[in-house]
């Protein structure tokens, strides 16, 4: 009768950043790290020209950190590819260049502007145009140019429901398309990356990580992130239920009012569509608690922010991945 209460009802007490575990026992972060490193090494071994897609967000920064560990003491054996929409936060670009230099990786940047100039795609009409959709063209062109047969990305299965069925090694046809019904079953740790000429794979070493895992790992490893992720004061504007940064690519429109608020990013994309999050969390511990707490919160509250943020992530995925 009186079995112990489950710990589900007593969250967060030990949440922030667990220490490493010794002996033969391995905690969840150690297991996820080992799995991600294994997948990266498989990618380097099975493909001729992999690239690591680098967006400047926390997931791709974590990917670079893991890649450095996977191939240490050698350099990361593939280039970082950044598709620059021209609408990035200035902090992102500055951070990108410094990170690439510090890990000694080759950085390849291809711009949406060049694709527009070459007539490969057309800028959206209207004020504050989004380049989210356009970057797919630039990405596919860049992969073709680099003859990349595998593109490593920081996608996670917990991001949304359709992603829950994604493989570690996700097969794409010659047109870069994903067919959910034609994916290879993945058993044990055996990843089949065999392909016909022209076919590619997207590889997701963080498949089994959750947002919280990434934050805890960032904390445990002391990974440097752009300041955007921590609470800061910024001039923002509210639009379609989202809080957006005011920037030269994101002008205040008639009828809107710019104001300064304490915000931070949960994901980082373009200035034009990255929803900011009102938050006072300025340390890693506070962010971990906030991320855990947001999911544990009483079901009801601040649906608007969340919904818009999820919608933004969706667009990002359609575009980028």
């Amino acid at each position: 009768m009186d079995s112990e209460p489950s710990s589900a009802t007593q969250p967060a007490a030990e949440l922030p950043v667990p220490p490493r575990t010794g002996g033969v026992r391995r905690g969840h972060l150690a297991q996820l790290e080992s799995e991600a490193i294994y997948v990266m090494r498989e990618t380097a071994a099975q493909f001729e020209r992999p690239v690591l897609l680098f967006s400047g967000g926390k997931d791709s920064i974590t990917m670079v950190h893991l890649a450095r560990k996977a191939f240490w003491p050698a350099r990361i054996p593939f280039p970082l590819l950044h598709i620059d929409t021209g609408h990035n936060f200035p902090e992102t670009l500055e951070f990108r260049d410094r990170l690439a230099a510090s890990v000694g990786a080759e950085l390849v940047v291809r711009t949406v502007q060049a694709s527009i100039d070459a007539g490969r795609c057309v800028e959206e009409p209207g004020p504050n145009p989004s380049r989210n959709g356009l970057q797919t063209v630039t990405l596919l062109d860049a992969l073709r140019e680099l003859k990349a047969d595998a593109a490593l990305g920081g996608g996670r299965r917990d991001e949304e429901k359709a992603r829950a069925k994604e493989r570690f090694f996700s097969h794409r046809d010659r047109f870069g398309q994903w067919d959910p019904r034609n994916q290879r079953p993945e058993m044990w740790n055996l990843f089949n990356g065999r392909r016909h000429p022209g076919e590619q794979f997207r590889v997701f070493p963080l498949s089994n990580w959750t947002e919280l895992d990434v934050w805890q790992y960032v904390g445990r490893e002391g990974i440097d992130l752009p300041s955007l992720y921590y609470s800061h004061e910024r001039e923002v504007v509210e639009r379609d239920g989202m809080i957006l940064a005011v920037d030269r690519h994101n002008a205040v429109l008639p009828g809107e009012r710019a104001e300064v608020r304490r915000v931070r990013c949960r994901t980082v994309g373009d200035v034009t569509c990255t929803g900011l999050w009102e938050s006072a969390a300025s340390t890693l511990e506070e962010i971990v608690l906030e991320v855990a707490g947001a999911r544990r919160a009483e079901r009801g509250g601040r649906g608007d922010d969340r919904r818009s943020e999820a919608a933004m992530e969706d667009r990002k995925k359609q575009g980028y991945f």
């Binding site: 994916q183 089949n192 089994n208 009801g300 649906g303 969340r306």
Partner: protein, 661 residues
């Protein structure tokens, strides 16, 4: 402009975890990967939705969307199943198509669910989901009881070597939370599961729809005093099946930053390794010693199964991807003929004439299927002769590889005992395989008895007094109970207790013990696979003579090779040979060590001890599994007596025998 967290390049690993210094003494949560199986209507999606919802793992936006969808469909309640039914096509058809992965966490543990659909391509999907799982939840609808598919899920769980199985009896709300309904299902399923390799089996009555016993204890089933489902998931022992004995390191990638450094990157598949370890590189066979175990965070004294590390060796040996570094005194099998169970996943059936690529650990070799030994009907567990396997079929194969492969039986190590087959024309993954061992001889075809050696110039005469007459006088049937298992598992203890009980009840009995027959009858034999086979051939023939004389013959032999046991089985009529798998973990057996064999092996005085440095092929479908870690001698003996009654070998009532008590 960045915040002040130190970059890993500038700091030592210890200082790199600032929060660790803040005094969080609680251990890091561990990770449990589990799989769920059930059919469309068993309420599996609702159960998973309930777990996610009540552990607070559902983001607000998703919950809002589900709430809106539930309203739109006029369901009048929060339809938690909508949380997990991902792709739109599936939502519209109300089915789940593929394996989907879900994540949730409590303060104690992180969970990864491989959610597999129960209907379409069930076998392929369940094998995929189960391959990395340590626990399986089998859903049973309380109104329908144990259906064929519930058994199928149990069989696949045991085939994939999942240590923990939970039978969640769902929809208890629709049977008025009645205890007898639950108990009947439990008894029914236990009966079936006796034929499987399921080390731990747990039954929990739940209502996923209302939440009873999922996370919160149900007030409506006061008769149930076990844990809730979540409590069980949090408490179950993870990593118990992890092999920490046999060091195996499949080389993934060679790291060579400059001429003076060569490191071999990989993930420890099983066992542990540290500097100084004497190793051999397979399949080449070169010997060396581990110089260091490296990581980007610094060298390690020891790496264990699951760790991704970099090994450096003392000698300049030629090592490349696909090689396996192993402990010198503990070698895997290296062979080109492989006996395996496989699940076929390709759209096109297995083509015996075709060449496939076998991906095993980090090695890929060409292979072909020399023989389909049999196909297993996953619903009845019957073996059927077949010349091919079609999608979702499971069968036993003999494969031949173009180059030697270093492997262990799957039962011993999943990482070095599993493989996939790839069709080189399409690059599709067409099969998942579990290695039983080296194919040492022509496997026993389904249903056919192997030829027995016969001396020249002899003729078979029927027995003077037919066995039926002897059985009639004895008041019970004759049978052979074959106790197989590791030394120290408890074979002799059980057989001796059982024989004493049968004898006391007036039965005609005989006990043949491994050590006894090796005095005299088999005194000329050693312990090589060939001599073990001959030993068991003679023991089997002796058992058969006692059988024909009307006895219940109890045989206790380690008998590690399935083929040897199958040969004895083939000597006896169907239903009269009962294979009893006496099971205990090798650590337990070594702790008991009744004959001091494990101690001798540890001192290096004894080689070829089964379970230590010689393989044990566990029975696939023994008639009885006796787990001596869980149950005592009396309980197992009572169960065996019951089984003999059920088989009609003992009369339904205790025999009233002329010579009886």
């Amino acid at each position: 402009m960045t915040v002040a967290a130190p970059s890993p390049a500038e700091t030592t690993p210890d200082a790199a975890a600032p929060a660790a210094a803040a005094g969080h003494a609680a251990p890091e949560p561990d990770l449990l990967r589990f799989t769920t199986a059930g059919s469309v209507d068993d309420g599996k999606s609702t159960l998973i939705g309930r777990l996610l919802y009540e552990t607070g793992s559902v983001p607000e936006d998703q919950l809002e969307a589900v709430r809106a969808a539930s309203d739109r469909r006029g369901e009048g309640y929060l339809n938690l199943a909508l949380l997990t039914d991902g792709l739109r096509a599936e939502r519209e058809q109300n089915i789940t198509i593929d394996v989907a992965y879900r994540y949730f966490a409590t303060a104690r543990r992180r969970f990864i669910i491989a959610d597999t659909p129960g209907h379409l391509q069930y076998t392929r999907n369940m094998v995929t989901g189960a391959s990395t799982a340590e626990l399986a939840i089998v859903l049973v609808d309380a109104r329908k009881g144990v259906l064929t598919q519930s058994r199928r899920h149990g069989f696949l769980s045991s085939l994939l070597g999942i240590p923990h199985v939970v039978v969640a009896v769902n929809k208890m709300d629709l049977v008025d939370f009645a205890e007898d309904v639950f108990r009947a299902i439990e008894a029914d399923y236990r009966d079936f599961a006796e034929r499987l390799e399921v080390p731990s089996l747990t039954f929990i009555p739940v209502s996923a729809l209302l939440g009873d016993n999922v996370v919160e204890k149900s007030a409506r089933m006061p008769w149930y005093d076990g844990p809730t489902l979540l409590h069980h998931l949090e408490g179950v022992n993870v990593g118990a099946g992890r092999n920490l004995v046999d060091f195996r390191f499949p080389v993934q990638y060679v790291v060579r930053p400059h001429q003076d450094f060569r490191g071999f990157a990989g993930r420890v598949a099983s066992g542990t390794v540290g500097p100084g370890e004497e190793v051999v590189i397979l399949p080449g066979g070169q010997a060396s010693r581990v110089r260091s175990v490296e990581t980007a965070d610094g060298p390690l004294d020891e790496a264990v199964a699951g760790d991704s590390v970099l090994l450096t060796l003392e000698d300049e040996v030629d090592v490349s991807r696909g090689d396996m570094i192993v402990r010198r005194r503990n070698l895997p099998t290296v062979a080109t003929r492989i006996d395996a169970l496989a699940c076929w996943m390709g759209e096109r059936p297995l083509d015996p004439a075709a060449e496939y690529l076998m991906m095993h650990a980090t090695r890929t070799v060409k292979a072909f299927v020399a023989e389909v030994v049999y196909r297993i009907d996953v619903d009845t567990l019957h073996r059927e002769a077949s010349s091919t396997l079609e999608m979702n079929d499971i069968g036993r194969l003999e494969l031949v590889t173009a180059q030697p492969l270093a492997f262990d039986p799957y039962a011993r190590s999943h990482a070095t005992g599993s493989f996939i087959l790839v069709d080189p024309r399409t690059h599709a993954t067409v099969a998942a395989g579990m290695i039983r061992g080296e194919a040492r001889e022509a496997p026993v075809p389904a249903g056919d008895a192997p030829a027995r050696p016969v001396s020249p110039a002899v003729t078979w005469e029927e027995w003077n007094i037919p066995r039926a007459e002897r059985e009639a006088r004895n008041g019970h049937g004759a049978a052979v109970l074959w106790f197989t298992g590791l030394s120290g598992a408890g074979k002799s203890t059980l057989a001796r207790a059982l024989e004493r009980e049968l004898f006391a009840a007036g039965c005609q009995t005989m006990l043949l013990d491994g050590d006894q027959v090796r005095h005299g009858l088999c005194g000329d034999l050693g312990f090589s696979p060939e001599e073990r086979a001959e030993n068991l051939r003679r023991a089997g023939e002796a058992a058969r003579l006692f059988f024909e004389q009307g006895s219940i013959v109890l045989c206790t032999f380690v008998s590690p090779y399935a083929a040897d046991r199958e040969r004895v089985r083939a000597l006896l009529p169907a239903g009269r040979f009962l294979e009893v798998h006496v099971r205990a973990r090798v650590e337990t057996c070594a702790a008991r060590d009744p004959k001091g064999l494990y101690a001798r092996a540890a001192r290096g005085e004894l080689q070829g001890l089964t379970g230590v440095d010689a393989p044990y092929e566990a029975p696939e479908a023994p008639e009885v599994v006796a787990d001596t870690e869980d149950a005592g001698v009396e309980a197992i003996v009572a169960a065996l007596v019951r089984r003999l009654r059920e088989e009609g070998i003992l009369p339904a009532n205790p025999p009233s025998h002329p010579r009886g008590t």
